[in-house]
Assembly symmetry: C2
Homo-oligomer: 342 residues x 2
Amino acid sequence: MRGTVLYGPRDIRFEERETPKIVQPTDAVLRLAATCVCGSDLWPYRGLQPIDGPTAMGHEYCGFVEEAGSAVKFVKPGQFVVGSFAASDNTCPNCQDGYQSSCVQREFMLRAQASLLRVPLADGTLVPTPGGPPPDDLVPSLLAASDVLGTGWFAADAANVKPGATVVVVGDGAVGLLGVLSARQMGAERIIAVSRHEARQKLAREFGATDIVTERGDAGVARIKELTKAIGADSVLECVGTQESMMQAVQSTRPGGFVSYVGVPHGVSLDGAQLFFSHVHLHGGPAPVRRYLPKLIDLILNGKMNPGKVFDLVLPLDQVAEGYRAMDERRAIKALLRPQAA
Amino acid sequence: MRGTVLYGPRDIRFEERETPKIVQPTDAVLRLAATCVCGSDLWPYRGLQPIDGPTAMGHEYCGFVEEAGSAVKFVKPGQFVVGSFAASDNTCPNCQDGYQSSCVQREFMLRAQASLLRVPLADGTLVPTPGGPPPDDLVPSLLAASDVLGTGWFAADAANVKPGATVVVVGDGAVGLLGVLSARQMGAERIIAVSRHEARQKLAREFGATDIVTERGDAGVARIKELTKAIGADSVLECVGTQESMMQAVQSTRPGGFVSYVGVPHGVSLDGAQLFFSHVHLHGGPAPVRRYLPKLIDLILNGKMNPGKVFDLVLPLDQVAEGYRAMDERRAIKALLRPQAA
């Protein structure tokens, strides 16, 4: 089987790798219908996050169960399934609390930009689509649920978005855009998207943004305060992961309001006293996508949300390197990859 | 009138000061029944927080309304009132959201270790005791509501303490001890107090602590994990304000659990990535005591809580310097000061 391997900065290769097989009896092997490139993949791609030798890439996936291990009870060969980027048993205390991405047996998925994928803890990780395999045109949206939508949804949930709320989304990557869509779905009245990029502004508006702010840093905070009666927003979704975006998020929130952060922070440090006097609630971390999957799959299958629109580039899987390039150069918001029939 | 002035490290004087009078028509002047020394007063007392010349001290108070300004509508001379350490109009959007300590007109109280006190925004700041002046033996508990109980209560509320919860309180100062009492009142099942000091451990148990942990730092985290099935606590109240205590709090919390922090952080910095993977909720700031005052006064007048027990030293106001010394040397948990009749 061929799969995607990062060798060093901007050196993505699609090459022969070991074919995945059942290792633990709780594993399943999937034949993927689609996979994609994540914004977080760009950190090591750009050399901003060290790698330890050639590294298999990819953690977003959906497809058909090819084989299930002997201890797998609920997931069956032939089912179409969506899974989280974090494998979980869905039974430990953290899973029971809804934090499956902090499962005591958690494994981060790492090899999904390929045609076949081994998924550990299959019963806890994978959710079959009800009513059998979905129509092919819903595959991009179902793939999105695996991480980027699940993460945008968690951003909105962790920022306590409620009907009627005023929401700010910092970051116009795919997660930020799906944060906009999620906030709209949760009933936010006003959604202010921070973006300087025309195509992304357009998609943000399509997903439900009511206002666009192009300023960053202090100027961005000042503009958001103007739009929120000088008080700040109820809920702010930080979807970038830099010091500047985190500070913009905290300072744009009203006292007692909620800030969420869902991208791994890179070089972010929070001053205790500044946070104290901001009076905000702060919550984030790796999105517990598994918690939301049944609901998100339902919303997608019922046509309530079309998150697949974030994929503005579709490539055959063997052109994965072009997917990375297009996202790195901001020519594409997010690249979907379609494995070819074997 | 004489009042308390800090001249420099460990130099507290009780000396002649200007007698407070109505300045704004929204002011009231109180004749205090009691005031006290706060843990936060020890930062400048110890020279750990710079002062800008001689500084009038004190921000906790209750007593009788002596005079009300011409625009004061609800507070009347002769009433016994309790007020927050932060004056607020109680009508601005932040106040309406329950964050009166971030009122757009907020003024931190500063001159309360005296017999008379001017309170700005009297209608928004002061809460009269229902049914007239309280019996004198309830004055210490009502005084506690002004800050130390209100802050402990906020710590428990901001850490989302629920019936049946497992709670950790980091810090055995008066705020931490009243955090224990508040968590008990809110129905926590298990309350783990972090304390090395015998008298404080005893009071923590009296207030409802079920377990005492004496270890700090990593050893403290390990001990708390042992006590919480290796997962961590649901709610952790950080009532110290140092880097070590904040880290102990974050690391003692289960993924998805809640950390509150209520003392002004001194030199605290939070690493974004560490916080991200901890998966905790974080909330704190200056306690919005005004939000809780009616409820706290009711609980005290009805004998449901006796927070006044934190005052283990009672002095006439003119011996205020001894109150600071006793707290600085940890001979007293908290010193109550009684003004003499004029």
